[in-house]
Amino acid sequence: MKDFLAPASEVARRTGPQDRIVLSSRVRLARNLRGFSFPGWAKKPERVQVYERVAAAVTSLPSLQGCFCDTLDRLSTLEKQLLVERHLISREHAAKSTGSGVVLNREETFCLMINEEDHLRMQSLRPGLQFREAWAELDALDTELESRLEYAFHRRLGYLTACPTNVGTGIRVSAMLHLPGLVLTEQINGVVQSVNKLGLAVRGLYGEGTEALGNVFQVSNQMTLGESEQTILEKLDKVLRQIIELEENARATLIEKNPKMVYNHIGRAYGILANAHIIASKEAMNMLSLMRLGVDLGMFPGVDRSLTDELFLLIQPGHLQLLHQEKLQAEERDILRADLIRNRLKTVSRPGPPLPSTGPGG
């Protein structure tokens, strides 16, 4: 698994539409097999049986040849941690072992969790705002799978899921957004509330019940019954375009009305990152977020966004551990994290006022 994953530098270079604000788009489908208990209720032999059926069906798909497929008990804690940090599997799934598994393609655009909360939780991931593309791929795979597996489907209620909150389409459409402008202008709570009113959820970096570290927010649909996949996708797309506009406006307002405050935040963030010798991941993420904003605003000429994006991934505990042989303690990680960041920022000069040529876009 460690060798299967693409290096962080490659991940950070993946680009997509609107990736200045939208880090990634994701579509997830929940499916279950008829005649089997849901994973949370099934006994181990039943879970193993389901795993075997699903793994056989999935790995036989022509489009998934050469993919990674294994049970979680055969993965180390570190490998599972890496998958969590890349948002490929959930924290809950990482805690499972025998009878649960993961299927991942080379491009890391498709990932299937077997026996998480449902028998199948498959997701399609894309950099930037690409719901339609993500859905098209997943829909096609799901259609291929339905001839190989007998899904639990109810005429009136649709695809049956362990939790009634997912019944119907079983779809979850979500995007990861970087919103430092809305946070700095203190508009974020208002935005979160209006998005909630539309029946959409806003969560932190690692999903349900997590903090919005590094000004990263996850927006997703909550309702799955009574609306078609298309309707849900379109709604999310529309809302996201509005959030993007609000974020761009917030950034423009900040620069126009309070440039010193923005330069101060970004300059200090750079100062800490370039000079710290001990830094916790939370602080590092928040500072990198401000530096990313600085890159977006043109305050770091010649620096690409992939620099901050790669660091954002590399400083996570699992990825940091991967760079070192011996098992790291939290205090050691904080030192090595600071070393890594300082080293990467050696060639980056202090931020200056934004270059006039950079505006919204790309």
């Binding site: 209720w41 009136r156 209620l157 049956l160 509330q193 309702m223």
Partner: protein
Amino acid sequence: MKCCVCKEREATVHLTQIVGDKMQKLDLCEECARSKGVNDPTGFSLADLLLGLGASQEMEQATKGGELKCPQCGFSQADFKKLGRFGCPECYETFSEGLDNLLKTMHKGTRHVGKVPAAFSGVQTMKERLERLQQELARAIQEENFERAAVLRDEIKNLQARLTAPGAR
């Protein structure tokens, strides 16, 4: 941050509640949290936490205390209250009473709109066609158009035979 109840100890338990468009935040120290029953997991039903307060009462009321168990997987009402999840796909039939009210609180509707597996869509359209034909037949009889009624009756018979044939789910 100090605890908002005793205003002395450091707050380590943070609760955020959103009711309507009002957000309320509570920062409690461990002791005050415990005395208010906040970190007592039995004080909260998981179903309530997951599905919104009142969800488990809704389900309970629907079956009036009787220990209903899923014949397929042995899952009970109490299990749902505890876990907020069902045991198997069959549970949706077993616990169908009261389910609609629950679904109404969390979804746009109570009827699936969207993708249907090919194996079902065939049957679906056949059933819809059957319904249409039966309506037409009734109308034909009412209009005393017996020639048309005979044709329709044969067509219905055919369709019914195909629907009950093995292999058609």
